[in-house]
Symmetry: D3
C-alpha cells in the first residue's frame, strides 16, 4: 500500500518531521511518499496563506497521487480536504480531522493545542466545520512559532507541556497536538501529561491505511461525486487534466 | 492481533452474521473471537432491553477480554461503550460509532438506516450523544425485524434499498446500515445505491485494528481513567474482579 | 398516593438520606416506600458502575412497583430512567431531571454541583441528553466523596457552599445539588447562598406526585410505548415477567 | 392554596375555558381566581399584540396577585413570563412552558400544535427561548381561529386530530395543545390520538401547585432578583407600586 | 431620507446621546428625528421594565413613524423589534441587532459589553434570539450604571476599557458597546482597544439608511406580514389605529 | 466612493450580470469597478473549483483593490472572504453573507435558493460557517445551470419561482437568490412570490457602501489582524507584494 503525504507549504523541514512521524506510525508494508509545495506560502500562518495553499495542494495531488492508494494531508489545517475528496478516487485524510476522530474513540472530549494565538479561531472554526464542537473541550495556543520547534525545541516542549496540562485542568480527557511541526513531540511528552497526547500524523496514517484497505466506493451523487469533467485554465497541465477527467 | 467481538444479546445467528462480516473486513494476521451473551435480552429491540444488555456485555468482556488487543461491540446500539472503555486497558470500538466516524471521512453527511420505527429515536439520541448530529442527515427505519433478515432476506433487501434511496434523496451522501443483522447486506446492495453503504462491523474492525496498532495510553485522569478498584456485589466473579482491579 | 423511591446502589445510608428528604418534601397523603439495590455497585462512582446499576434498578422496580402510583429514581445519575418509562405504566421521575426541570422555572440558568471531578463529564452528558444544555451554566464538582457526607459533614458543607458560590459567580441563577447524598444539605446551606439551592429529591417527589395526579396516558406508539412483551433470560423471575408483559 | 390565572387578552370566553380546564386539573384545596385583561388586544394573534399584552398582564398581576400563592399565565405564548418572575415573590408558571416541561417527562420529543400558520414561527422561537428545541419534534398549526373553537367546535376538533396525527407520523411521542382556547379539547380527543395530548393549563396548574408547596426562595442576585425598586410612570397605581417595591 | 429614532424610556439625556451619535454617523441628506417615551420606565434596567417599555415603544412609532423612511430603536435591548416590523411598512432596525450584524462583517467573533451584571443574561438571551450565539465570544458587564455615564464619565470610560480588554483576552476580535448611553464612547476609547469598538447606534443608522434605500417589499405571508387589521382597546388612538390598519 | 467587484471565475457574462445588478443598487456617487478572473475555473460548480478560485480571487484583489474603498465578492460562495479581510485594510463583503445578514433584518428565517443539487451541501456549510443556521429555513436548488440563465431564461425563471414558493411553504419568510447569475432575477420575479426575494449583489453593495462610510478600524490582534508581512512564492508579483506588506 502506498500513501502520499502532501505538505502544501514550502518548508522541507516540516515535511521531514511529518514523514518521520508517519514512518513510525505506518504498518509494515505501507510505503510512504512525501511531497512539498513549490509555490504558495513558506509556512501557513494566516487565513490568506491557508486559502492560497489550497491551490498548491491540489497541484501536488494532481502531479503525485496517481498510483497511490490514499492521500494524507500533512498540514494541520487540513487545507483543501473536501476539494481533494471530490477530485480523487482514492481516500484522503486530514491530519487534524484524523486526530479529532481518533480522539473521539479515546476520550469524551479532546483539547486542541496549536501554535500561535492568531490561529486559535481558525482551528475552532475547523473543528466546527467537522461538526465536532461538542467533542472538543477547547483550543489553546502555545506562544511559539513552528520554526522554534527546530531552533529551540526545549522551549517548545515546555510550552506544549504547560498548555496540555491547562487543557486537562479545563476538562480535556485527551489532547491533540495540531501542528505538523509538533508531530514528533507526542512520544517525548507523553510521560509528563496524564491523558493521551494525540499526534495527528499517526492518526491520519492509520485511518488512510484503513480506508484504503476497506475500498469504499465513492459517492456517485452529491457534493463530492465525480464532476464529470470541469474546465479550468491557467494552472499546471496536471491540475488541468485532473479537473477535466470524467471522475 | 486478536480482536474480541461481543454480542450481548442471546441470538447466535446475529453473532454469526457479524463474525462473517468481521472476517471479511479484517486484515491478514488479525484473529477474531466472537462471544454471545448468556443472560439478558434475546434480541435488543427496546430501551429497557438495551439497558439490561449492558450488564451482559460487561460480563462478557470480564470473562473474555484478557489476552485480546481490542474489543468490538457487535451490537448496533453500542451498548455499554464508555463503560467498557473505563473498565478495560485495551481499545473498545462500537459498530455504530465506527460507522459514523468512517462516514465522516467519506461524505459530508451520512444517513442512518435501522430496523423498526421504535428505535429511530434511540439511534437519533445515540448520534447526538456522540456529538455527530451535524454530520447525520437523518435516521430512518425499515419496517422489518432483525429476524426477517434470516427468514425473508429478499424482502429485507428490498426494504433497505428503498430506505437508502430515500435517505439519499433527502441529502445523505453516505448511508450507514445500523443493525448488526444488516452486516452482510452492504456488499449485495451497493450496486443499487449511488452512495457508499457503510457496514458498521467492517468499520469497527478496521478502527479497532488501527487503535490496537497505535497503542495510545489510557487517560490517567478524568471520566474514563482507571478507577483504582470499585466494589460491586452479586455479579459474576469475573466481573467482580474486573471492577476490583486497580486499573 | 404511593411513591416508590428506588436506590439501585447498595448503600442503605444513601437511601435513608433520600427517604428523609423525600418525606420532608411530600404532600400530606403521599406514602413513600424506599428500596435499596441488592446487587451491583456499592456506590455509583464511575461510568461502568452506572451501567451495571441499571440492571439492579430494573430489578427493583420489577419487584416493588406494583401498587405504586409513581416511581422516583433515588440516584442522581437518573440511572435507567427511559428504560423504566418504557417498562412501567406509571410515571417515573429522575431526581436530576426533576431538579433541572424545576430549575428551569426558577431561573434562566442553573448550575449543577456534584461529588468528584470524575463524574463532571458524566453529568454534563446527562444534561445534554435531556436537551437542557442551554439552561445549565456549568457543572462543577466538590472534591469530597459521598461517604464524607456522613463522616465529615462540616467539610462537605463548606465545600458545597464554596462551589455553589463559584457557580453563582460564573452565571448560575440557581444551583442544583446533584448527588443523592446531598439531599439533606439544601435547607442547611440555603441561608449562605444567594440563589435557590435545588434538592433533586424534593423536586422529583413533587413532580411524581403531580404526574400521578394528572394521569396522562402512556404513548401507544414510539420508543417508550409498551413493547407487547419481550423475552429476556437469566434474570429474576420478576424482571422476566415485567419484560414479558404485553405492556 | 390560591392560584391566580391571568389572561391578558380581553376575551372572557377564553378565560372561561381556561378556568374550566384549570378547575378540572386542580387538586382538592386549591382555590382558583381567573382575571381577564381590560386593555390591549381582544385576542393575541400577532407579534405586536403579544408585545402589547405584556403591559396588560403586568397590570393584572399588580392588581390581583397579592394574597395568591402562585400565578398561572393563561395565555399560550406565556406573555411576560420572566418579567412576572422578576416582579413577584411567588412562583409564576406559563402554560406552554409547563406543557413542554411536562412533555419532557412523558416522551423523548413533543410536537406542538397551535392555531394559525402565522404564529408557528413565534412558537418555534418560544420553544427555542426555553432551550427546549431538542425536545420538540416540530410545530404545526391548524388552519382555524381560536374563535372557531366556540363557533364550530367539530371542525376544530377534526383539524386538531389530523394535525396531531401528522405530528406523530413525523416523530412526536407526545403532543402539546398550545392555545388557551384548546384547553378543553385534550380529554375529548385523547382516544383518537396514540400519544399523550398535553393540555398546558393542566400542566401549569400542577406545576404552580408544586412550586407553591415547595417554597423555593427567589434568587437574591442575577437577572430575576428583586430590583430594589424601580421608577415607572404613566401606568396604573398598582403597577407603579409593584415596580417601586424593594422586592 | 428621514429616520425616526425611538427611545421608549423616559430619560431625555439618553435620547440626546443617541441622537448625537446618530447624527455623527448619518450620511448627508439623512434627516433624523428622535422621540422619547412618555410613559413606562424611567430607564430600562430589568426584565419587567423592558417588557413594559414595548408598549411605550409601539405607542411612539404609532404617533411618529408616518412620513419616515425607517425606524431605529434607540434602546439597546431592541425592545419590541419584531412587533414593530410586523406593524410598520417601513424598515425597523435595532441598535444591538445592528451592532451584531455589523460585527459579523468585521470579525469572526464579537464580544458584547453592557451596564450591570443583572442584564448580562438578558443580553445573552437577546443574542441567542437572533441566532448569533456562535458569533459572540461572550457578554460582560461593567459595574456602573447608565446614569454614571453622565455623572462620572471618566470612571465609566476606565471601566469600559478594562472590560473591553478582558473580552479581547478571551477571544473577542471586535467589541460591541451595548448600551444606548455608551453610544458616544467608541470614538474616545478606540485608541486604547486593539479591536473595533462597535457603536450600535452608528450601525443601526447605517443599516436603516441602507434598507430604506433598497426598498425591499414586506413579506405578504408569515409571522411579520401585515395582519389585515386587529382590534386593541384601551390604548392611544394612534396605536389603536395602527393595529386596525389593514397593513 | 469606489467599490471593487471581484468575480474570480472566468465568465465575463456573469461579471456583467453582477455589474448591472450592482449599478442598479448603488447609491449616487458610488463608482463600481468589476474585474473577472484570468486563471482558475471557467464557472465555479464544485468544491475543488471553489478552492482553486480563492487563489484567483486573492490575485485579483492584489492587482485591483488599491484605491478602492471596499470590495464586493461577486461570487455566491463568498470565495476567500476571510482571507481577503485579513489581507486588505478596506472592508470586504460577500454577496451571500450580505444576503443572509440583510435577510435577518427582513424576516425571522430566510430560505436559500441556488443552482444545482450538487452545491446544496456546500451552501448549507457556508451558512453554518457564518453561524446563521438558525436563521435559515432551508437550502434548495433549481435543476438548471448558471449557463441556462442566459440561454433559456424563461425556464430558469419558472424554476426559481417554483423553488421559492416551495421554500415559503416550508417556512421561509424571505428568499435569498444565491447565485451570481441570478442577480437580475429578483425584480422580475418579485411580483409572483409573497416574500422578499433577496438579491445578494444589491445587499453586498449596500453593506459595502455602509462599512466604507463608517470607517471602522481593523482589528490589530487576532485572526484577521494584519500579519506584519508573510513570504509566499511562485505567485504574481502583486500578490507576493500584498502578502509581504506589514499590514
Amino acid at each position: 500500500m502506498k500513501l502520499l503525504l502532501v505538505n502544501p507549504n514550502l518548508t522541507q523541514a516540516v515535511t521531514d518531521v511529518v514523514m518521520a512521524a508517519a514512518q513510525a506510525a505506518a504498518r509494515p508494508g505501507t510505503v510512504l511518499q512525501a511531497v512539498t509545495g513549490d509555490f504558495g506560502p513558506q509556512v501557513i500562518g494566516s487565513r490568506a496563506e491557508n486559502a492560497l495553499a489550497a491551490h498548491g495542494l491540489l497541484d501536488l495531488v494532481a502531479r503525485h497521487a496517481d498510483g497511490c492508494d490514499a492521500v494524507v494531508l500533512a498540514v494541520s489545517l487540513d487545507t483543501g480536504l473536501w476539494a481533494c475528496r471530490e477530485l480523487l478516487a482514492i481516500p484522503v485524510v486530514g491530519m487534524t480531522e484524523a486526530g479529532l476522530l481518533t480522539g473521539a474513540m479515546l476520550a469524551p472530549r479532546t483539547g486542541v493545542l496549536t501554535y500561535g494565538a492568531r490561529l486559535v479561531p481558525v482551528y475552532r472554526e475547523l473543528v466546527a466545520s467537522y461538526g465536532m464542537g461538542d467533542r472538543v473541550s477547547g483550543v489553546v495556543a502555545v506562544d511559539v512559532t513552528p520554526a522554534q520547534t527546530f531552533s529551540d525545541p526545549e522551549r517548545v516542549l515546555a510550552a506544549v507541556q504547560a498548555a496540555a496540562l491547562q487543557l486537562v485542568a479545563d476538562g480535556a480527557e485527551a489532547v491533540l497536538l495540531a501542528g505538523a511541526a509538533m508531530a514528533a513531540m507526542a512520544p517525548r511528552l507523553q510521560a509528563r501529561v496524564p491523558v493521551p497526547l494525540i499526534d495527528g500524523v499517526a492518526c491520519a496514517v492509520g485511518l488512510a491505511e484503513t480506508l484504503a484497505h476497506q475500498r469504499w466506493p465513492r459517492p456517485a451523487v452529491g457534493s463530492i461525486a465525480a464532476t464529470g469533467g470541469r474546465a479550468v485554465h491557467g494552472v499546471s497541465p496536471a491540475l488541468q487534466a485532473l479537473f477535466a477527467r470524467a471522475g
